[in-house]
Symmetry: C2
Subunit: 339 residues, 2 copies
């Protein structure tokens, strides 16, 4: 059916080897014959079979993106989509195809990461949305093919990571609240199987201590990054500690949940509670009131991920961490503390 290198060779009156040489821009082919071959290729509409090529080169020019819980029902995509765009764009620019895999903790028990990689024959993988207690998290650092983790600070010879400077981001958020005069500041964090949660807690504490305020473990609530967790978070916090005048949320979605909760119980934001989120998802600027938050450079994270992946892959560089700066974006959900 399709036209093969053999057909081209015959039509051009040269050997297969020669055709292969012009395809791969080798220099040792006579300009005359190169032109002839090129013309035949053009005429016959020949496109090399990438599968055959992959087989002999043992390289697929493909990077796998494995995402945990990529699902309609999870809202992680508010964060993930831009990262995906970045990954996709950069991979395409560098001549790699991107193949998508979603996985779950249970699926990870059935098929080990090694088996996954051996089966799929991707040249490298970037992993996103994975939890610290997921099996793949630890299998990936020991794997033979290069990988980069998004938001999990683990490195090895073949494993890099990229993430935002979360302690700095959290610190900026809390310092902003402190500068506004707030002293009793709650924190609705994510679950503790996310590295970012630990870092953001650190930043929260550093900001507090930097301002001479004491850290009350009781002021932090652990949610699951979902909207309802945010609502639940402020409910608990405000109930147990009515003195709290501001809350920092580890995700915009939880912040939105918090705002909705306040509003639905008759309060107003920021009058009754100042709020800072994290991520700067597109919702944040569209809301009413618009959400003050810490922006993550998600698209750039994606690009950086494949960038470092291919550095390991093609230049044999060893794994390393990459930290991107956060940015405080001021909107309408914070105001000075009024005693």
């Amino acid at each position: 059916m399709g036209v093969t290198i053999r057909d081209v060779a015959k039509a051009a009156g040269v050997s297969i080897t020669t055709v292969s040489r012009v395809l791969n821009q080798y220099t040792d082919v006579n300009p005359k014959t190169r032109q002839k071959v090129l013309k035949v290729i053009e005429q016959m509409g020949y496109q090399p079979n990438s599968v055959a090529r992959s087989l002999v080169k043992n390289r697929t020019q493909t990077v796998g993106l494995v995402v945990s819980d990529l699902s309609k029902y999870r809202s992680g995509h508010h964060f993930m989509f831009d990262v995906l765009c970045g990954i996709n764009d950069r991979a395409q620019e560098l001549g790699y195809d991107l193949v998508l895999f979603s996985t779950t903790p249970t699926a990870q028990k059935k098929t080990t990461y090694m088996d996954f990689v051996k089966q799929r024959r991707v040249d490298g993988v970037v992993m996103m949305g994975i939890r610290l207690d997921d099996p793949y998290t630890h299998e990936v650092v020991e794997a033979s093919i290069p990988s980069v983790l998004i938001d999990v600070p683990l490195t090895s010879k073949t494993c890099s990571y990229v993430m935002t400077d979360n302690v700095k981001g959290a610190k900026m958020a809390v310092e902003h609240l402190i500068n506004l005069g707030h002293r009793q500041i709650g924190f609705v964090n994510g679950h503790d199987q996310a590295a970012v949660s630990k870092e953001r807690l650190t930043g929260y504490i550093q900001a507090l201590e930097g301002a001479g305020l004491s850290y009350h473990p009781d002021y932090v609530y652990y949610g699951n990054f979902e909207q309802e967790d945010g609502a639940q978070g402020v409910r608990c916090l405000k109930q147990r500690h009515p003195e709290i005048s501001a809350v920092f949320f580890a995700s915009d979605l939880m912040a939105i949940g918090g705002i909705k909760y306040i509003q639905s119980s008759g309060g107003q934001v920021p009058r009754d509670l100042s709020i800072v989120g994290f991520d700067d998802i597109s919702l944040a600027s569209l809301m009413q009131p618009a959400l003050t938050t810490i922006r993550q450079m998600r698209y750039e994270m994606g690009r950086a991920a494949v960038e470092t992946l291919l550095r390991m892959l093609e230049n044999g560089e060893t794994g390393r961490g990459m930290i991107l700066p956060p940015e405080l974006v001021l909107r309408e959900t914070t105001e000075p503390f009024a005693k």
Copy 2:
């Protein structure tokens, strides 16, 4: 490096052929030897090389998802992401890998669809976000490998489509406004290189005429599905036709733009303008006021797409259209007309 079928064969003391047979669950192999081979496979951690398999079978077990303008800067993803999840989930369930390609009109001029397909060796493709005047739109229906288009009603022997019943959806939206007593109803449509725009216009007109109202071409504004277009749309419409009391938008994002515009110019929704959107993106329910809109079953569209794709691919079925029902979801941006 890796262990091959040859290694297992040797270790199990059988021929390559036999190993292949147990791998592909052929029946003509002695249960005894099957067990033996299976054990060796297990012990050696053998995983078949899918590339080699693809080469000989001329099938990659891979479907391509080509998306036009998948980009950080385009907001189509509010619609696309759920569809993508559906595609991904169903493909995975059916044993296919999903590989992602983003394209642009200019890229489509450089590489024809045929070349794209020959190069990538995907077994089928689903296409999304593409415009009627994109080159691929017409190349795809004539291609030899099966494809399904999202939101472009074109069929051929190898080409199917799936889309929402847009005329019905638009009709439902406008009828809802009519039932509330509105008589002067504007329409902010999408650009005319989207099939959905044409259909939604039809629905708009049908609803009007069904209620004995006359259709003013001047009441419809053509935007580009982006937020700013929505703002621009109501500005034009209200300026030229202050009598308009309600507007139907061809996307939620444009509706949001419209609402923002009204609010920023001192008005209120729905007091000053009743608004219905289209899509039911996650923003819609989170906004203030929450957006009344027409829901599309996006996730199901994705699933349906690979479903029909694989039916063409594996059962040789011929292309067909698939229409999913819309749903009116009532929220807070519409109210009865008060003269």
